[in-house]
């Protein structure tokens, strides 16, 4: 049996009090002292845990704890003194795009490395903006192309980054020239640089270890390279330097040990790539492109150039088009780019890494269905460290979650757990789709249902034109 890709995980409890969705408000007055206290009967033992916690109280937030919201105590208290309330701290988590549920589930995954499982049916809106306007599809009894999933361990999530020529050329039965290099990673995800405002100096050394443990690659701004610390040698295959459009190239000794390097888009790309290749012919060069008003044309233009191996398309943290008044969402821009490359017959030649808006494991799968070869992830890894997206750090203030002071063990453990949980979830949805290789999932829009299309095909047909677009 070949080696299986497996991420080692361990429970990494949070450093700070948990922030749950709801908590029990207790007025305490008028308590009958009936000795039948429902608090003692809490199925989840929350009151006892909470009392224990409050004894070594660190923060008042602890009062809003991990109530499971079952209403049992509320409904059984002899005097009806208890009441359940939404935790206002919970409600303030995140921003419009990063919902409190996303943040909570990220924390749970970072702690346990497990796939979030719950009972009862789906509780959310029918559909929504962004990635919520699509569903993945699954295969049942009559789809002839299905692979048949006999075991999740046979699903491959490995991807190759690099240029894949459509044709091989031979000269007197010998392959002419060299095949372009490929970087093979076991999960369709690389770790991206933190967005501006979130670049804490203690993160890069953690990314370095996480990348090594999970087999992926962390992209680190070469300006921050010194933060990575000494003794880099063993980590270099898991690190990719990002070099700005006009920045000087790293030392040749360093480049020779890296598998991937990323450069900013700008003039003289061909020249710059040639310089890098001259130093290390085995290195793969990705070009970072902003998904703004010119993102589409620029991607298509570059993808057609023979010297381009991989494009890293970057939307903003919420998955929106950059610098746009009414921005398009990354998945829609990506579908357009992907489809256009397919029509030009060059989609397979270039690798697309896509950034922005990927907040949950499902988004990784959906982004790939929309045409990405792999995604790059940054904020979820920060949230794994108990970031609440309060954005205080954006203004240069101290991090409220104390992420500046975390130890490496904690940071590595939480991020690794999250990546492992995402990997497992990707396998779940791929299993349902009947797809055994994530490379086959790319652009496989046939394994997805898009809200606009299916609404039109169903209700549009019955009820006429849709209002408000």
């Amino acid at each position: 049996m070949p080696d299986k890709y497996h991420i080692k995980t361990r429970p990494v409890p949070p450093r700070r009090p948990r922030i749950g969705r709801c908590g029990v408000v207790d007025w305490r007055e008028d308590c009958a002292g009936c000795h039948n206290c429902v608090k003692r009967a809490c199925v989840f033992d929350r009151y006892r845990e909470e009392a224990a916690y409050i004894r070594d109280l660190r923060e008042m937030d602890a009062l809003f704890f991990q109530c499971m919201g079952c209403f049992s105590c509320v409904q059984q208290c002899t005097k009806g003194l208890l009441s359940l309330a939404l935790n206002p701290v919970y409600e303030r988590l995140g921003n419009g795009y990063w919902t409190p549920q996303m943040i909570e589930t990220t924390w749970t995954q970072a702690e346990t490395a497990r796939i979030p499982v719950s009972g009862a049916g789906y509780r959310g809106p029918f559909s929504g903006p962004g990635f919520d306007s699509m569903w993945t599809d699954m295969s049942e009894i009559v789809r002839p192309t299905r692979d048949g999933i006999h075991g999740r361990e046979y699903i491959s999530t490995a991807v190759d980054i690099g240029r894949k020529p459509s044709l091989l050329q031979f000269e007197s039965n010998k392959l002419e020239g060299r095949l372009p290099p490929l970087v093979d990673i076991p999960i369709p995800m690389v770790i991206d640089m933190m967005p501006q405002g979130y670049r804490l100096p203690n993160l890069p050394p953690i990314f370095k270890v996480v990348a090594a443990q999970t087999g992926t690659i962390a992209i680190v701004d070469f300006n921050d390279w010194d933060l990575l610390g000494n003794d880099l040698e063993q980590y270099l295959p898991g690190l990719a330097a990002y070099i700005g459009p006009s920045a000087a190239l790293p030392a040749a000794a360093l480049l020779r040990k890296m598998r991937l390097v990323e450069i900013g888009d700008g003039a003289g790309l061909e020249q710059r790539i040639a310089e890098l290749k001259a130093i290390n012919p085995a290195i793969v060069v990705a070009v970072r492109i902003d998904l703004d008003a010119h993102g589409f044309e620029r991607s298509i233009e570059l993808a057609g150039k023979p010297y381009i191996e991989a494009l890293h398309l970057v939307a903003d943290i919420n998955g929106n088009e950059l610098n746009a008044g009414s921005p398009r969402f990354v998945k829609d821009m990506l579908r357009q780019i992907h489809t256009s490359l397919v029509q030009r017959g060059i989609r397979n030649e270039v690798t697309l890494i896509v950034s922005g808006g990927v907040a949950l494991a499902e988004h990784m799968a959906k982004q790939i269905i929309c045409g990405a070869d792999l995604v790059s992830v940054n904020l979820p890894l920060l949230i794994a460290l108990e970031c609440t997206l309060c954005r205080q750090c954006n203004d240069g203030k101290a991090c409220r979650a104390g992420i500046g002071e975390i130890d490496t063990d904690y940071g590595v453990g939480r991020m690794t757990n999250l990546i492992a949980a995402w990997h497992d979830q990707l396998i779940e949805v791929m299993g349902a789709m009947g797809i055994r290789d994530v490379r086959r999932l790319r652009g496989e829009a046939g394994r997805a249902l898009f809200f606009e299309e299916i609404e039109e095909a169903t209700f549009g047909k019955l009820f006429g034109a849709r209002r408000n677009g």
């Binding site: 919201g69 409904q75 359940l84 009862a120 006999h150 779940e428």
Partner: protein, 526 residues
């Protein structure tokens, strides 16, 4: 009565001695509607009355309130806890007995219960939960005075944006007694029994293991009372369900847990579970904590070890394989109808027509937003299509293929009320399967903790001996019977307003629906 008929037929069929020995007399449950009050001391109410210190205990409020919210028991000086859940809220203002205005000391205040923000979710709003509780308590739709918005949820799509276009005056004047809600389940004309159920729905599969004995039996009793069915789910055929054989569907799922020849032979409907809407393509998973000694015995497995049902049936990779499965069951039980429970992938229309060709009597489609005792969140939200789309797609396809009237199309996956049921039928289904609604009737608050530790803290979806003792079968079955009755009343009312004598007339009448997000113009008007 169908009850005895099948017993006779089974005997004629010369069942093996081993099966005959397991047959027991069937229970009868009368369809009696009587109050089944909430089982918790403090029922959650939409509006709450607060009493301040200004109260002089004059008793005026108790005197004026026709609902009996304020309780001043004889011999007691102080008021007992108010019965908030019978308070009709602001609708009371103009009734002449609004306690807040009539209190001589201005001691009372009415506010919307702040807990409404915590209870419920987009699909099951707090109003929908409270209204379902009220129906389960009284057996009738909640009085409009309560102001519950329970005809749909707040998910912003699908059923929640569909409305009926009721004519201003019903085209035909019908009394409720003239309206037929029954549903034929066998349309194949293949000589197998013409099973008819009194209401166009039956209870969803919930295995012993995922829910308690009491829950299963409560559902079974209601199924008998309404001459419909309940389903064993995958966990095997419980001893206690034997007196309900006539109204039980046994499930053959991919794990084949507890499936035996005798369990196939004793029932009138056998259901193949290919997939479950909440987690299609993933199979089943009973978490280790729920595998108690009793569950393990039933499923012939080991206590405390998680149980997986694989996906798919590894013996079924084509419609021909599917037919082979059907034939196997049909051979073992010559009188059973066979149902294929499938989820809703993009090619669900092909699945449905394939099931028809393989010989199924019922195609049961379970949509993506269906219930579950435990499923990965990523699956519940993301895999396969919501049932609303699938109904239209499959109904149209089967009609075009000319086989629509040869198969019964049953749908499930997020149907919460009589209005959802009616909408599903108007979109093209024959009938529906309900599950979560029954659990809400039993006191579920949809906290989604069915899977954690010992299971449901409300004692519904658990096999923990302490937890499942929270209510008994008498109360539980009354709650489900009441809910069914209330739904039936509502369904009959919808049909009456549309001037239809039978629920079968409603099938596929999309012209009677409108969608709030669409123009609803053009051919609709015709």
């Amino acid at each position: 009565m169908a009850n005895s008929l099948v017993q006779e037929e089974m005997a004629e069929q010369d069942l093996p001695q081993s099966t005959l020995e397991t047959l027991v007399p069937q229970v009868e449950v009368r369809r009696v509607i009587k109050p089944a009050p909430p089982r918790y001391r403090n029922e959650i109410a939409k509006y709450i009355i607060r009493r301040s210190d200004a109260c002089k205990l004059c008793g005026k409020c108790a005197e004026v309130c026709p609902q009996g919210v304020h309780v001043l028991k004889g011999g007691y000086k102080y008021f007992a806890a108010p019965r908030q859940n019978v308070c009709i809220g602001p609708a009371c203002k103009d009734s002449g007995h609004y306690c807040v205005d009539l209190c001589p000391n201005g001691a009372l205040k009415m506010v919307e219960n702040p807990m409404m923000k915590v209870l419920g979710d987009h699909r099951w709003t707090s109003d929908l939960i409270l209204a379902t509780w009220k129906m389960a308590e009284t057996g009738a739709p909640p009085s409009p005075e309560y102001g519950y918005q329970y005809e749909c949820g707040n998910s912003g799509g699908g059923f929640d944006r569909l409305r009926f276009r009721f004519p201003a005056v019903p085209p035909v004047d019908l009394s409720p007694d003239e309206i037929d809600t029954s549903l034929e389940l066998n349309r194949r004309g293949d000589g197998r029994p013409q099973i008819k159920i009194d209401v166009p729905w039956y209870g969803g599969g919930m295995s012993f293991g995922s829910v308690s004995n009491v829950t299963q039996l409560s559902k079974a009793q209601a199924a008998v009372a309404f001459n419909t069915f309940t389903c064993t789910g995958e966990g095997g055929y419980m001893e206690r369900l034997r007196p309900y054989d006539e109204h039980t569907i046994t499930q053959v799922a991919t794990g084949l847990f507890g499936v035996r020849e005798e369990t196939i032979q004793r029932v009138r409907i056998v259901e193949f579970k290919y997939a479950q809407g909440a987690k299609p393509g993933l199979g089943g998973h009973l978490l280790a904590d729920k595998v108690t000694p009793a569950v393990a015995k039933m499923r012939e497995t080991v206590t405390g070890i998680s149980l997986f049902s694989p996906f798919p049936f590894h013996s079924v990779y084509s419609i021909e394989d599917h037919k082979k499965h059907m034939d196997w069951i049909k051979h073992i039980n010559r009188h059973a109808l066979v149902s294929a429970k499938v989820s809703t992938p993009a090619d669900v229309d092909m699945v449905a027509v394939g099931s028809y060709s393989a010989g199924a009597h019922i195609v049961h489609m379970d949509g993506g937003y269906g219930g579950t005792g435990a499923a990965p969140d990523i699956a519940k939200k993301n895999i396969a299509m919501p049932i609303e789309y699938a109904i239209v797609k499959v109904h149209d396809f089967l009609t075009r293929e000319g086989v629509r009237d040869k198969i019964t199309l049953i749908v499930s996956g997020g149907l919460r009320s009589a209005h959802d049921i009616a909408k599903a039928i108007a979109l093209g289904a024959d009938g529906v399967v309900v599950g979560t609604g029954e659990l809400v009737a039993l006191g579920c608050v949809r906290c989604a903790r069915c899977e954690s530790g010992r299971g449901c803290p409300r004692g519904i979806a658990t096999t923990d001996p302490d937890l499942q003792g929270q209510f008994n079968v008498e109360w539980g079955s009354q709650r489900v019977i009441n809910l069914y009755n209330a739904w039936r009343i509502e369904l009959v009312d919808i049909l009456r307003r549309l001037g239809m004598r039978s629920v079968s007339e409603l099938r596929g009448r999309t012209d009677l629906l409108m969608h709030l997000d669409y123009g609803n113009d053009a051919e609709q008007a015709q």
